[in-house]
């Protein structure tokens, strides 16, 4: 029983990464009907930008002899990294996807894959092949509840992820920008008739998705403090699976399926040898998709018409 609860805690943390990244896939898909296959690498870029900011802040604090508390550096690192990574997302939208808006979807998919390779190899060229170790910004502490052990980092990762998702929910439901995004997901060709520029909503959506991926990158660096240029590939693909499982374009679906994916992986690894984890976990997902090809909240077919 304790082991069961322990695995739930672990699954919540593991699912947080998938959920945060899957949201970016789904948001972009919901408004532009394309998957940004560079999104996993934006997660990596966010982690690296976070690494740079954390290192700079630590150096700055040492230089002026002011011992900035670790939690403050962590908060600043998350915020700044989200901010800067959102510009990476907007840049990718502007130069990679906007020229292809009328092009066949396959062109956008190929472009995304190429942008991903450019980000990976660009990082490799810039920083070399050595792995970086993400600074431990806060001291680890382990709390015991009955028979289960919870680290402060796990609590932090889950809480920060859930808070970000709640803020995203409020933004989409309450703000006029979120309203425009919802409208665009319903019928993007009718949006300009409302005086709303698609060239404002599309970059905003990329910016938000990228900021969430950056937050995931830093939280990941906190839990697994080794950064390498290909860290976003497998995680990104798995988060993409979560976005499909949640239902293409469904924000709620992406978040829920991200956590579900975390649960499936952790519990499969608990029951079976961990070398079989992905084979079994993704066979289960394949089975789910066989019976629900549109995912949990996806539409059976597109209702979009051409204007």
């Amino acid at each position: 029983m304790d082991l069961f609860l322990q695995n739930i805690v672990n699954a919540l943390q593991w699912g947080s990464f998938y959920a945060l990244i899957a949201l970016g896939y789904s948001m972009v898909y919901s408004i532009l009907m394309l998957f940004n296959f560079a999104h996993g690498d934006i997660f990596m870029v966010g982690a690296y930008i976070g690494f740079g900011i954390a290192t700079a802040l630590l150096g700055f604090a040492a230089m002026i002899g002011l011992p900035l508390p670790g939690w403050l550096i962590l908060i600043l690192t998350i915020l700044f990294s989200m901010f800067f990574t959102s510009f990476v997302g907007m840049l990718i939208e502007r130069i990679g996807y906007r020229p292809l808006r009328e092009a066949p979807r396959a062109s956008a998919a190929i472009t995304g894959l190429m942008i991903g390779i450019i980000l990976e190899t660009g990082n490799l060229a810039l920083l070399g092949a050595r792995r970086l170790s993400f600074p431990a910004l806060i001291e680890s502490a382990t709390y015991q509840f009955g028979g289960i052990f919870v680290t402060n980092k796990k609590i932090l990762i889950v809480l920060v992820s859930l808070s970000l998702m709640y803020v995203l929910h409020l933004f989409i439901q309450k703000s006029k920008w979120g309203m425009a995004m919802r409208a665009m997901s319903f019928d993007f060709q009718a949006v300009p008739l409302m005086g709303v520029s698609i060239n404002k909503i599309a970059p905003l959506t990329f910016a938000i998705g990228s900021a969430l991926a950056a937050a995931a990158g830093i939280l990941y660096g906190l839990a697994y403090p080794v950064l390498d240029p290909y860290m976003g590939v497998l995680l990104g693909w798995k988060a993409f699976v979560a976005a499909i499982l949640g239902g293409r374009g469904s924000i709620l679906g992406a978040a829920l399926a991200g956590f579900l994916l975390g649960f499936i992986e952790i519990f499969v690894a608990w029951i079976f040898p961990s070398t079989l984890r992905d084979i079994i976990a993704y066979s289960i997902i394949l089975l789910i998709l066989t019976f629900r090809p549109h995912g949990f909240f996806g539409q059976a077919h597109s209702t979009q018409l051409r204007l």
Binding site: K176, F186, L193, V196
Partner: protein, 237 residues
Amino acid sequence: MQLVIENLQVSYDKIKALHGITFKIDKGEIVCIIGANGAGKSTTLRAISRLLPADKGSVMQFENKDLLKYQPDKVVSELGISHVPEGRRLFGNLTVMENLKLATFARKDKENIRGDIDHVFTIFPRLKERESQFSGTLSGGEQQMLAVGRAYMSGREIMLLDEPSMGLAPLLMLSMFEALKEINRSGTTILLVEQNARLALKFAQRGYVIENGHLVLEGSSQDLLNNPEVKKAYLGG
């Protein structure tokens, strides 16, 4: 002249849909373009809204500004030319109120928005009752009211209407045109395209007849209603 269209040509791929049409509209007028299915009615409106590119040689001016220099969203937000598209194209996942508010997204005169929404609710009291309902759940008539109300919120210099009578019961059609007259009285120019020629000509002051991408006839509504060719082709003899 508020809107000047000269030699407007539009092509889909290589096939010409409009072969150089010319017409002018004065501020405050109600003008209709009638014609059969596929004659180029919707294409004309979509070209004015800049949803379709116009071929070389086309001239479109709104209050002496070159329409061809504007993006579709700016045609609405900067020039005030609103468009009620074919099939209404409401955002079914947004409430009635949200549909109306979205149309004010780029408006700079924030202080007038509340009053304008109230005005829409005076013209269409039914929308007030349905305020917080998703627009996808409205009846056909209510959806048409919302489409017009939403266009009114987005821009009021000119309203372009694509078949506002489509799918409406005769009684609803009449009250819809009454509402459009009220919008026109408050200063909005109206250009509508219709297959229902009799209804359109009774509502408009002037009309044009479009056939295969050419404007073939123009005149006051009275003249067109009495024109033997129009009678034969569009009014059922």
